[in-house]
Symmetry: C2
Subunit: 186 residues, 2 copies
DNA sequence: TTCAGCCTACCTACCTGTAGGTAGGGCGTC
DNA sequence: GACGCCCTACCTACAGGTAGGTAGGCTGAA
């Protein structure tokens, strides 16, 4: 892994624990044992790093969805895998979803990053909508006239509960996902 | 309104647009035309200001719930009023929920503020849980074995959709709330 | 009434440590 | 020599905070 990739990897961790404006080039330089100016060499402006992080996030998303599709034994199982993947680091390492982290700093992001974030949102909403629609078609879930709206409920429930789990413990997360499951199945 | 109250009022706006770590004493001093040291006079450390903001948020919450209770003509109407109140500034002024804002900076908040935030979360979850339970008892909503988990779904759906509405427009917000309504009524 | 002491609310000046960034240079590899 | 990747040194502008001070108002005692 070359220096540039190390910068992105470490920055992705920081994005998820402190948000985009919560870590600096000095943080990165200290972690990797290089100078700040060297970080600037690879990413001249923080926006450049931010866009690289959006690309990283998209890759992370796309690979995740591919994995869930390959291993999910039902549509609900795919959604559960999504939720479990999101949980994986949250409860032990206090990490949030990178997309949520970017939304938290939305007002301070340059336009280009906002546009990249919009793309990420749609990738995620599209995938969950498709899984829900497939589940409805297969009789796993109750009929819904707007899978995208329903996908929103699922995504926001999941992410919100993960945010809160950092302070309230994982029980609330499980309660939330359980109620969502009952709502779409019963 | 004295200086201290002005500091809190302005800080509350900043909390909701930039997050707790997104504005500084210099920002406040510039806005109010006083020096930074004068801000420190009223709130020696930023944590003191943070705790005052938590109090402000609690007052804002409690008054909101009182208003929704007084004017709500059904349990769903109360929840809709909650959602509409949250929407009121979000779509025009890019303001987020203060509680969400604090959660976004959770890892960087001193312990005392984290504890105050936990209290705020519970106040909100408790109120929504009670409204949902009353609606279930009155036959407005379908039975649920865990009103608190259901309250989580509602709150997170609402807040998440507001976050996204800043970037995607209000349609997604309405879709989300509409699907939630169908889920608990049909 | 006057005055000392105290309080509130502000001020200037200063501190350490960044945060994002710029300019010029060195070194190793091909 | 060219280039990638690093470096030192520096810039402006903070961010949270500290120390010492001033001004005006209030209160109680002489």
């Amino acid at each position: 892994m070359n220096t540039k990739q190390q910068i992105v990897a470490y920055s992705a961790d920081m994005l998820r624990t402190r948000g985009f404006n919560g870590f600096s080039y000095l943080d990165i330089s200290r972690e990797l044992g290089i100078t700040k100016a060297s970080v600037h060499h690879h990413f001249p402006k923080k926006q450049d790093l931010g866009l690289a992080l959006c690309e990283w996030t998209e890759e992370w998303l796309v690979q995740g969805f591919k994995h869930f599709e390959e291993h999910g034994i039902s549509e609900w199982d795919k959604l559960q895998r999504y939720a479990r993947a999101a949980t994986k680091h949250c409860l032990s390492e206090q990490m949030m979803c990178p997309i949520s982290a970017l939304h938290g700093d939305l007002n301070k992001l340059p336009l280009e990053m906002q546009q990249a974030l919009q793309v990420l949102d749609n990738i995620e909403l599209d995938w969950v909508s498709r899984v829900l629609q497939a589940g409805i078609d297969a009789g796993e879930f109750k009929a819904a006239d707007d899978p995208r709206g329903l996908a929103s409920v699922f995504i926001f429930s999941c992410k919100g509960a993960l945010y809160y789990a950092r302070l309230h413990g994982k029980e609330l997360f499980h309660q939330t996902m359980q109620q969502f499951e009952k709502l779409i199945k019963e």
